[in-house]
Structure formats: C-alpha cells, structure tokens
C-alpha cells in the first residue's frame, strides 16, 4: 500500500531523463570557488590566507556560533583569493578560490571502498563529528545537521524520517544514490538513530522509483528498525511536513518543527554524507548532482567537488545547447534560475537543469476567475488567490492573519493556475514584509 499526504498536491511532468544513469566522477576542474554561505545560519570564519597550500578535505573555514557549518577544501592546490563571486542567489558573496594542483587528500580520510557497518562512536561523539565534518541538509534547505541532532532538554524523538521521495521534476541524484549506495545510506540512518536514541526509522520513496523501493527494502532487512515505505507519486511529497504526514500521519503545527510531533527528518544524501563522515572520516566536500535538460547531449548524474563552476558540469554533458533560455539550480518546481555559468556547486545543489528558450518564459497573466484550484492544490491549506490579492494591495498584516508564513514556496498554486497568475511571487513578497513587521514588533 502506497501512502501519501493530504491535503493538496499536484502531478507535474516528471521528466526524470537521467533515471538509471550511474554516478560518474566529474573531473576535478582547474579552479574552484567555495562559497562561505552554503548553509542556513552564520557565515564561517576563514582559516586560510591567499597563497596557502591546501589539501582535499582540509578545514578552510570554521563555523561561527551554534547554527553554522564548517567548510572543507574540495581540492588540493593554492588559495588564490578570498573574494566575492556570484552565487546561486544571483548576488556576489564571499568565496575561497583555489587553483587546483594535483589531487592530494588529507591522510585521515579512508578512501577504501570497504563497507563499515560497526559504529564505534558514542552518541555525543557522533554529533561532534558531524559538526566537524560540515554536514548540512543536502535536500536543498542546507540546515546544519548537528543542530537537528542537538535536542532541547526534555524533547524526545520517536521517529527518524528519511526523505527518499525526490518529488522534484528532473532530479535523480537521490534515486541513483539509493541504487548505488543503499548500504551506506542505511548505515548512515543507523548512525543518526543512535545519535537520537530512536528505535524506528521510515524511509519514504515515491513509487515512480520501484527499483529503489525494491533494492532499499531488500538491503534494509539487515538493519533493524528501518522500514522502507513506498509513497504515491505526488508533489511536494519531499516537503518536510508533507513527508511526516505521509509516513506517520502527524501534522507539524503552524510555525513548529518536526520535533513537535516527535520526528527528525534527514535526506538520503545527507545520510550518505553522514556515513562517510563517521565511518570513513571524510568531511563533506563532494556530492551527487543531476545535470539534465531535454536538449543536453549527455545528461547524467555526477559526483562533483563543491565549488566546481556549473560550466564544467555543462561541458561534461556535451556543452550548452544553442536554444538555451534558462539555467536552473534544482528542478522546475523549486529551483533557482541562474544568471551566470560560473556559479559554483554548493552542498545544497542537487541538480542543474538547462531549459530551452521555448520553456523559459512565463505565460501572460490574466484576471483571477476564482476557480479555487490554487486552494485545492495548496498542501498547507492556504488560499493563495487571497494572499496574492492582499499582497497586491500591500496588506501584509492581513497576509499574516491568513498564515502566509506557513507557505513553503512549493509553487503548486502557480503551476495549476489557469489564469497564469504569479501567486507565489506575491506570497514571497508578503513573507519578507511580514518578517520585517515581526522584527519591528520585537523592538
């Protein structure tokens, strides 16, 4: 029986062109730019200077404060500069640029392919090691993982919820990871279960990946307490709150966290990184990225060093097609349109998508016909048409009353709207303004 969440949800074209393409090692580029702001939270403190020699896996920036994350070098070579580069946001932000020279790894990293299932570290040591290894949520939110594992006193976790849904169109990086690294993911889950002291983990996988459900179920028999659950295909099933609803039928309260219903959520990619950090002593400096697009010659799934410019990925796929109109970091539903080919891959980059000119432009907006389809598809039970109407009139307090801040920006309302209304644009605007109002209220 396949489970799913309620209410809302849509079925966008899946376009999983690279499903089944094995993970290919992307050649180390000549130069990388490793942004400091790859995660939610404070920017880390830079530990290297211009001209320093660094090795693969060496700590080059240390997390500052509780919510922050360490950054490690993804290549060996010489630090060229610490300067602003254009990142995924379209703004210039500080990054450490390194000129690559060879591929020398720090000695502590275990590079053997051997699977280690025995977990030697104790609970506190695990959290500490995850913190040191710079692990953040790799599904895209990039929330530092050690923070999720450091529970407030008195809070008890009952379930580890693992996101293998990969509901975003085009992306297949989690899928291929589950096919090729199932045991590592399951050991990773066991490590997190030990750190959180929970007995039960659910891994949710959408049934458009039957091979992954079968393979993971087969391997999971060897790992006590871990259950694989097939999910009916529906976007946005990978949303934290939707996944919890689908798997354990609990609703995270408005403004709350998964822990409020006894759950902690990890992505399969993050679990793989956890395995590597704890069992192989390997910090997070590379990840699987789906590089795709209907007009690319050779789309595929690649293991990419953090800081690699996306131009190198596109090169590996046979170069940029003539009719390219849009380049997106992520998938069609929640991805960000990029303005440069030099934007570096970061810890949260799950995919790169090249769209042709014809699919790049938005359709012309018309009057709202009040068909209420936006309400039907909203997974948070909001009224997007009303939020947009308030947004247009700058009635941000009214938007707050109507729970605009519950919106996770999945884009289902925009997708379904027959009048092509830019509902999410106004909801985003409202969320920013509401936060401003809230800050003023506090002062």
């Amino acid at each position: 029986m396949f489970k799913t969440f309620r209410p809302g949800g849509i079925h966008p074209s899946e376009n999983k062109l690279t499903a089944g393409s094995t993970i290919e090692e992307l050649p180390v580029p000549e130069q990388v730019s490793i942004p400091l702001n790859q995660h939610i939270g404070a920017a880390p403190k830079v530990l290297v200077e211009r001209g320093d020699q660094v090795k693969v896996g060496q700590l080059i920036a240390r997390g500052e404060g509780f919510i922050s994350a360490n950054i490690h070098s993804s290549v060996s070579g010489k630090v060229l500069k610490i300067a602003a580069v254009v990142d995924m946001s379209g703004y210039k932000r500080n990054a450490i640029s390194i000129k690559v020279d060879g591929d020398e790894w720090v000695e502590e990293i275990d590079r053997s392919p051997e699977l280690i299932t025995e977990i030697a570290l104790e609970r506190q040591e695990i959290v500490q090691k995850i913190n040191q290894s710079g692990i953040v949520g790799m599904g895209g939110a990039t929330f530092p993982s050690h923070v999720k594992l450091s529970l407030p006193r008195g809070m008890k976790v009952k379930y580890l919820i693992v996101n293998g849904a990969e509901c975003e169109p085009y992306l297949t990086s989690d899928h291929i990871l589950m096919m090729e690294k199932a045991d590592q993911i399951l050991v990773g889950a066991t490590i997190i279960m030990k750190a959180l002291d929970v007995e039960k983990a659910f891994i949710g996988i959408e049934n458009n990946k039957p091979d992954a459900i079968d393979h993971m179920s087969d391997r999971a028999q060897h790992y006590p307490g871990i259950e694989i659950q097939g999910l009916r295909v529906k976007y946005p099933q990978g949303g934290e709150k939707q996944l919890i609803k689908a798997l354990i039928n609990r609703e995270v309260p408005s403004g709350g966290l998964p822990i409020d219903v006894g759950a902690v959520v990890f992505n399969v990619g993050t679990l793989f990184a956890t395995y590597q950090a704890i069992q192989k002593n390997k910090p997070l400096f590379e990840r699987v990225v789906t590089s795709t697009g209907k007009n690319l010659e050779k789309p595929g799934n690649f293991m990419v060093r953090i800081g690699t410019p996306i131009s190198a990925l596109i090169e590996a796929c046979g170069g940029l097609p003539e009719n390219t109109g849009k380049i997106i970091s992520g998938g069609t539903m929640m991805g960000k349109a990029l303005n440069s080919l030099e934007v570096p891959v970061i810890k949260g980059t799950s995919g790169l998508l090249v769209l042709p000119e014809a699919e790049s432009r938005r359709k012309e907006m018309q009057h709202c016909i009040r068909c209420s389809k936006c309400i039907t598809v909203c997974p948070m039970g909001l009224e997007p048409y009303l939020l947009m109407a308030f947004g247009e009139r700058e009635l941000f307090e009214r938007m707050e009353e109507e729970k605009a801040t519950d919106c996770m920006e999945c884009g289902s309302c925009n997708y379904i709207c027959p009048a092509n209304r830019h509902l999410l644009d106004y909801i985003r605007l409202g969320k920013v303004e509401i936060n401003k109002i809230r800050r003023l209220r506090k002062n």
Binding site: P7, P169, E322, M334, H367, E383
Partner: protein, 332 residues
Amino acid sequence: MGLLTISPSPHDHSSESVPKLMYGVIIALLPAFLASVYFFGISTVIITVTAMVSCVIFEFLIQRYLMKEKPAISNGSAMVTGMLLAFCLPTNLPIWLVILGSFVAISVGKMSFGGLGNNPFNPALVGRVFLFISFPVQLTSWPEPGVNHFAYLDASTGATPLSIMKEGLKNRESISHILLDIPFYQDMFMGNMGGSAGEIAAAALLIGFAYLLIRKIITWHIPVSILLTVTIFTGIMWLIGPTSNPNPLFHLLSGGLMLGAIFMATDYVTSPMNIKGMWIYGVGIGIITVVIRIFGAYPEGVQFAILIMNAVTPIINKYVKPRRFGEEVSNG
C-alpha cells in the same frame, strides 16, 4: 546562447488555461443541447446561436470601446454565458428578446463590474431574471416537445410540469389527479416535457456533469449539496403531506434544478472558494429553491435561489476558511 531568463520558481506550468476550462463547459453542455434539438427542433438552434453570438459581440464592443482594453472574447466565457442564458429561455422566445437578454447579461451582469472574475452574480441568470420580470408572458409560454421541429415562433405551446403542479395545487386538486396531466418520470428524465431550452433533459445534463467531473473542471460538492438538500427537504414535506406535496423525484426532474445545480451554481466566479463554503452555499440554494417552489408565488425558484446565494458568497469566503495544515495537532 542568447540572454538567460531569470524568473522566480516554479519554472513549469500545467496545461490548464481559462479557454480550456470554458470550452470544457461548452462541451459539457452539448448533450443537453442535442436533447433540446431533438425535442424542440430548429428553434433551439436559433435561440442558442443568437444568444452566444450576441454575448460575444456585446462583450467585444464594451471591452473595446467603453473599457478601452484588449478584448478577451477568445477565452470563451462570453460564449458560455450566452449558451447558459439560451438554455433557461423558452425556445419560442422572439429573437429581439434573446438579444436584449444577452445585452443585460453581459453589460449589467458582467462588464459593469469589470468583466470576467469580478462579477458578483451569475451573468446568464441576471439576463434571464431581467427578461422573466420584464416580459413574464413571453417567458412563461413554452412550446410542446416533439410536436413540430421546424416551428419557431408559431409553435403550439403548453405548460411545464412545475406550473401544472402549482396551478393544480392552487385549485386544491389532489396530487394523484394533477399527475395525470404530467409526463411520466422516465419521460421527464429524458426531457420529453415542456420547459426551457436546455433544462428539460436531466439525463443529458447528468452526462455533462460526469464530463465536468472527469475533466476536473468542477468538483461534485455544489451540485450534490443542492440536489441532496432538495431531496431531503421535499422528502420531509412529502412524508408530512403526501396528498398535497409531490415526491422528491418530481422536484429533482422538473424545472431548471438540474441545469441550475450543475451549470449555474458552479460558476467559478460567483460560488465559494472552498469545500466547506461550497456546502453552505449548496444547502442554501437547495432550501431557498424549495421554499419558493412550495410556498412562493412562482412555480420555479432555482434562479432566484442561486442569485441570492451569489450575494452571500463573499461573506462565505470571508468567514469560512479551508482547514489549515497543522491546525489541529494530533500528537500521539
């Protein structure tokens, strides 16, 4: 490579569009149209085409020359209005009245509020009620079904089951006696009775309803809540006084109830935006319809019931909210 487009997510759009929805409604109305042609012949075609063409022309003229904006007649909404208006008119209505009704529907009912999406009342019903109040004689003489397929204005006329019932009850005749003058239920279901162009054939309207549901153009909540309310309310009346009240089946199959519940009340613009609101709206229409039919002066009340609940819709939208995710926390 030319310039890269930068726009916020999402970067994909469904195939949904306003014209697609509107033409979907027109397709759903076709079975009822064909049934009407079968029973009333050429006159159905004359008034339907007249109403549709006039609605489109009036909307074009008003948008182009009064509102001075780009006409949006290609979205099909004016055609739907015209078709629905024609469906609730007798097929022997003079052409100039059809054109006048179309004018009122589009100008007063729709464009005076700013056009598609802004009108509080169903435009087709505004046109129909205007004609009904201004020209009661012409609006209450219906041609006999299946008599002459090539007659238009000169068709022989008869009454509708609802007006026969109303008249009979007023004269204190018993139900069983009145029913002798009314077609059998299976005839009423197929549309073999006197009535307005598109409202006679319940069977054809239900086929249209199924199509609307399959294409996900509307949800089932409004039609079902209306029909259910009418069934329960008239059922209670029938149980109380079976000799002075017709049974629920008669109410469901007569008058404009099916057309109103499936096609008029479900108009996007003038109906509530969420499921809870739709139930309140549907139950309201059902109750008002029955009250007018049983206690009111008119034999039929669907049009008035829908217009009254149209007026209540903004209040429903304001106070009835969908269930927010995480509103009731079930922690266990």
